[in-house]
């Protein structure tokens, strides 16, 4: 099979994996070696392109092979599927990665695989690609390796030495769901592996902090003078992430968000990704006939953001009995605000950061802008408009020097007024 044909098949096979950001790792560059290539930064990764599904393309995201001995019902590559199979050699993946990287198409590699022969063999192949990139080619770009829970823990430990991020998919929001849809996977093995990764990651971070404290200078690392502890102490500096399929089983949003919260807290996950179940060819009858509305995935991400950056509690967004599902028509923050009208209106000139973060339409950056600008004068409605805030969204919930919403805050029809009009996506061509 031609290389380009393999690429077509194995990129296609990888498209359901949502967790493909290239952010959050340590800073590196190619100046450290005489032949190496690649750099990363401590902050956001770079999206080199965007696909018509709106997703950013930052990494070469492929499967090493789509052969698989597992038979997970929701997966297009499952053992019983009719899909055309292909397999890269490890050096083909290495060469493609380097070729794309040199042309500035990508930030790095995201490598997953179907399980061939057995979990250990597969994990060895994945680790070999990463090892070759780092050691044979001095590759400094981003590497994200999927990790197979049943593989030998020593292989997991090795993977962390070469990869920036590791991930194990939790797949289903419940253990019963996993048993039903992915009979070869085991929820205990998954969680043990996540715990082990967390230990490695924490240990390595502590070691780095210790080593940094013992440095002769106290200065902040700059671009020129980089004092780094020796390589082997860094284990997956960008941490671990995971992915959950939404809408394949009957788990509601409350179950999903409680699960996410637990994953963040218990395993120190950097990100939990929600992948809306997508129809696959030749599907099992145990799967729903339709995918969940795309906007459900969107709302889950919004809720996830609120938990992580806006100091919301899961119970404020969903409730097992009364409100198990997030509102599809309005975002979770607005939904919360409408349920808690007694909090509002919030005075932009007096309120605390916490209070301001609760206003629909106000994000952390604008909250900061409000806090620093109001030192100079009292803010009026026109000032909020100058900050490019959506007045329509925030007006019912705030008061300013020259404005008070009056009874607008308690208006019964407020929700209807603020519901976004979702016009169908029209193609541009």
């Amino acid at each position: 099979m031609e290389l380009i044909q393999k690429l077509a098949i194995l990129a296609d096979a990888a498209k359901y994996d949502a967790s493909c950001a290239s952010s959050g790792t340590i800073s590196r560059d190619a100046k450290a070696s005489s032949t190496g290539i690649g750099s990363t930064s401590g902050g956001m990764g770079i999206c080199h392109s965007y696909a018509p599904d709106g997703r950013c393309i930052s990494l070469l995201k492929i499967l090493l092979t789509n052969l698989c001995i597992y038979d997970c019902l929701y997966c297009v590559n499952r053992h019983s599927s009719n899909v055309q199979r292909a397999r890269f050699t490890t050096s083909e993946v290495v060469d493609l990665t380097l070729g794309f990287y040199r042309r500035n198409y990508i930030e790095g590699l995201f490598l997953s695989s179907g399980v061939i022969r057995d979990p250990d063999y597969t994990m060895e192949q994945l680790v070999e690609v990463a090892r070759s990139l780092r050691e044979d080619h001095a590759f400094g770009g981003y590497i994200h390796l999927k990790t197979i829970p049943d593989a030998d823990p020593r292989l997991h430990a090795l993977a962390g030495r070469y990869a920036d991020r590791l991930s194990i998919n939790i797949e289903m929001p419940t253990n019963q769901g996993l048993e039903r849809f992915a009979p070869e996977k085991n929820h205990r093995a998954i969680q043990h592996s996540m715990a082990r990764l967390k230990d490695h990651i924490d240990e390595s971070r502590e070691d780095r902090q210790q080593a940094r404290k013992q440095l002769p200078h106290k200065s902040k690392p700059t671009l020129r003078v980089k004092r780094r502890p020796p390589r082997q102490e860094r284990f997956a500096p960008a941490g671990q992430s995971t992915q959950m399929i939404v809408g394949a089983d009957d788990s509601n949003d409350a179950i999903i968000l409680h699960n996410s919260h637990r994953l963040y807290r218990q395993f120190g996950m950097r990100r939990v990704y929600y992948s809306a179940f997508s129809p696959i060819p030749d599907a099992s009858s145990a799967l729903p006939l339709q995918s969940p509305p795309l906007v459900r995935e969107h709302r889950l991400y919004q809720a996830d953001w609120l938990l992580r950056f806006y100091r919301f509690d899961v119970n404020e967004l969903v409730d097992d009995t009364r409100q198990p599902m997030l509102d599809l028509d309005i975002d979770p923050k607005l939904a919360w605000a409408l349920r808690h009208r007694d909090w509002f209106p919030i005075d932009v000139n007096r309120a605390s950061r916490e209070q301001l973060l609760r206003v629909p339409g106000l994000g952390p950056r604008n909250v900061q802008r409000i806090l620093s600008t109001r030192r100079f004068r009292r803010l009026r409605l026109a000032d909020l408009k100058a900050m490019r805030l959506s007045l329509k969204k925030i007006k019912p919930f705030v008061s300013a020097a020259d404005y008070h919403p009056g009874r607008e805050t308690d208006n019964a029809t407020l929700r209807a007024q603020l519901t976004e009009n979702d016009t169908p996506q029209l193609a541009l061509f």
């Binding site: 077509a8 080199h48 709106g54 199979r85 070729g99 042309r103 500035n104 997508s278 795309l294």
Partner: protein, 302 residues
Amino acid sequence: MPVVDLEPCSDFTDWQPVARHLLTDGIPPEQVSWCTGPAQDLFAVDDEVRSPGYLPEQRRATPLKVSRRFVDLARFAASHSDPARFDLLYRLLWRISHGERELLANSLDPMVHRANQWAKEVGRDRHKMRAFVRFREVSLRDVSTPANPEQTAFIAWFEPEHFILNLNAEFFCRRFHNMDWSIVSPYQSLHWQQQQLYVGAGSDPSQVPQQDALEDYWRCYYAHIFNPARLKVQAMCREMPKKYWHNLPEAPLIPQLIKTADQRTRTMLAAPTHAQGKLPENTRFRREAWLAREDSGESDNR
């Protein structure tokens, strides 16, 4: 009345020494005429950015140290394409040095607002350049260096909105430190050869390679990585504006991908895509057997 002549594509490194000189000499902004490019006098004071607080009689000692915040802002804003930038930045500098030390924290001040706007646009353009520069490989048959034994170089054509090449030089040097590369734009070009950076004149697209051996692979990857069941064209265009498309090798695929997305999804659901034989049943994973193998102490050495 001092007249300052700057190139249209000048940026912070050209403006800063001049501004410092003027400030030390205590020359107020109204008396400076900033010229960028031929026959353009931008001395006319724009009403909406006139500083209300400035009184000509006040002459304070001008400190040469300016806040980090101003330097960071000016470094970006000075790369903007708006010819009025040098005048505005000098006015800001003057005001900060004459009693309005915390001026930049007041984002509602019209001058500050405009400078912030410029810096934001430059920042975005700079980020997009890092994302959208696409190199093409050329072989240099007769040129072989110790650092470049394969005798190849990577050349890219890029059309930025603002004069940002210098702002990205270090990024590309760090990342592609051990390969020879060039980025050519209409107003300037950067060349990295044997770990040395050279700045050259602008050029036109005919001067860069028109093909590359891996571009077809990249297009293939692009076409196959997206899920046709989920179209979000608006989101894509917001992040990857059409103004960049003509220099992106994957962009010509987009109209077709959008048009066929719906059809592809329906076909995929209707029938299997390939009539390949299924995998043999005996290759299925048997978890108990796998765990039992490990427990019995069989070695995993391969």
